[in-house]
């Protein structure tokens, strides 16, 4: 019991990020409105970014910008890990790019179907197909 409580408390960042990820994933699957799905996608990606950044944290450490230490060896434990930050720069940019493209698609779909609700769009597609099938 002690063990489990210890584990839960020591790693609470992971539980938070997993919860966020699952919230985003649920929004993407279950919501009907296209914009809500896109927002869910963004939450999902952001949670993964937070997850990565939390990997690089070290207790009592500062940002990874070297102070002037001529001649002394660098104390690695005093600086946060720079690599997850670098990876997440990329992931943030990718997230923004995907968001922009998804919004462009949403605008075009709205121009075509005059609605952003997925069930209404599917109903319109079905009626158009039936009309074309009849001709």
């Amino acid at each position: 019991m002690e063990d489990i409580v210890q584990t839960v408390v020591a790693k609470y960042n992971y539980w938070i990020y997993i919860t966020l990820m699952m919230l985003g994933l649920y929004a993407m699957i279950a919501k009907n409105n296209l914009i809500k799905k896109i927002v869910g996608m963004n939450i999902f990606q952001t949670a993964i970014i937070l997850f990565y950044v939390s990997i690089g944290v070290k207790k009592n450490a500062t940002i990874p910008i070297m102070q002037e230490v001529h001649g002394h060896a660098v104390n690695v434990a005093a600086y946060h890990n720079p690599l997850p930050h670098v990876l997440m720069l990329t992931a943030i940019v990718v997230g923004v790019a995907t968001l922009g493209v998804a919004l462009a698609f949403a605008i075009r779909i709205y121009n075509q179907y005059k609605t952003l609700e997925e069930d209404e769009i599917l109903a319109q597609i079905r009626t158009r197909e039936e009309q074309m099938g009849k001709i």
């Binding site: 990876l87 990718v94 995907t98 698609f105 779909i109 158009r128």
Partner: protein, 507 residues
Amino acid sequence: MNAHYPALLVTVPLLSGFVISTAGWLNKRFCFPIAVAALAVSAFSCVGVLLQVIEQGAVIYKLGAWEPPFGIVYHVDHLNGLVLVVVSMVALINLIASKRTVQEEFPEKLGPFYTMYVFMCTGLLGITVTGDAFNLYVLLEITALSGYGLLSMSNNDRSTFATLNYLYMGTIGACFYLLGVGYLYIVTGSLNMRDIAQILPSLYGSKAVVAAFIICLVGVWAKMAFFPLHGWLPNAYTFASSAASGLITPLVTKVMIYVMIRLILTIFTPAFAFSVVLVSKPIVWLAVIAIVMGAVLALASRNLKKMLTYIVVAEVGYMVGGAWLGNRIGMTGAILHIVNDALMTLCVFLAVGNIVYKIKDTGFENLQGLFRKMPFTMGAFVIGAMSIIGVPPTCGFFSKWYLISGGLQAGQYGFVAALLFSSLVSVVLFFRVFEIGFYEPLADHHGHGHSAPQPEPQPQMHPMMDEAPVSMLVPLMVVAAGLVLVGMYTGDIVEHIVRFAIPNALI
């Protein structure tokens, strides 16, 4: 330049993308030639690097001259050398064949279209050649974004909505892959594929490693449309323009299969993938369902292009099942099928592109009399169909043979049965198309041809042959000939390349 082939084959298309984008604003006539030149240089480098690998073994290229695992490294061995050549050749041939359709469909946006085309090739080639797990994610996203752009615009109304659904699934897949790489990074501290492979064996008992494997696998499955994550593929690829579907359909799923094989063989060694994580049998059963479902849904479709996309879903099932059989023959079959399926799919989609160029629709009711109207196109389509069915000497037969042998050796009789079932269904599918094309009389497009009784049979009022233009025919013929050639040289390919692509640990 010899030593720089690995860098050239990715960066030349990349640089040309920016030049094409500029040319699109200044003078549109340069877009196509620049794209062709860039992809030709890239194809040449791919062939060059494959020859180097065959001669001397793996080629390692350090970007920025940093040693791995501190910098990003390109690692070309037999497996990716082969896939590189296939990807660049398919992209180049499709580019040349689709010049006319692109000119017709996007006359003012040639610059952006060719930019996205070339970036897609950059992404695919980069995914294949890289030796760094995170670099693969970035290139995956380039491929995905340019793919979304290419697929979303066409004459068809439904393409944008279908592409948005593809976007959701693609993003979920890429994010899962990123999460898996994150898990690997937490437990190993490295991003280089071979470095991870070295550190992992001591950690095999850890739950995080198993989770990383499964998460990466699910992510890659979402991107390759493996059952049950396949829902986006038929719609996204059917409603796209011919040029886009000719590039994306043969290549993206195959490159994802390459990524999966890379995960199994290199990052997580076969010992882990087949023995520690006991998922091989369920995955092969999923593959069986994918094959059967793809075949049945293809039977149900009344549209040629949609039928072909369901066949693609089934083909993905072949390759995933073959890779997960757990023996050498099955893996050989899967790798060989990557090459063969890319060529077969390109062949049939180019043929369909020609049909769409002439007839504007691929519903079965419009395909009547096609064999008389477009004999060369349909001839090539027949060869492609033979390859999908698995008739010697086309290449499809040989990879199916390997897959079936592997299935028999592994005792996965369900997989073998599914393969045979799907071949039979393909026979029915394609002979149905042939029948419509061959035997029914030429359809009169303006009405019903027998409104008034004719005193004597009219001499040919319809043109004998209304074939697609030469620029679309010649690449198609080349690919069809290639199908037979690759089939005949299968023995050489397996002997010299595929044999070395699979580590000796796999029996």
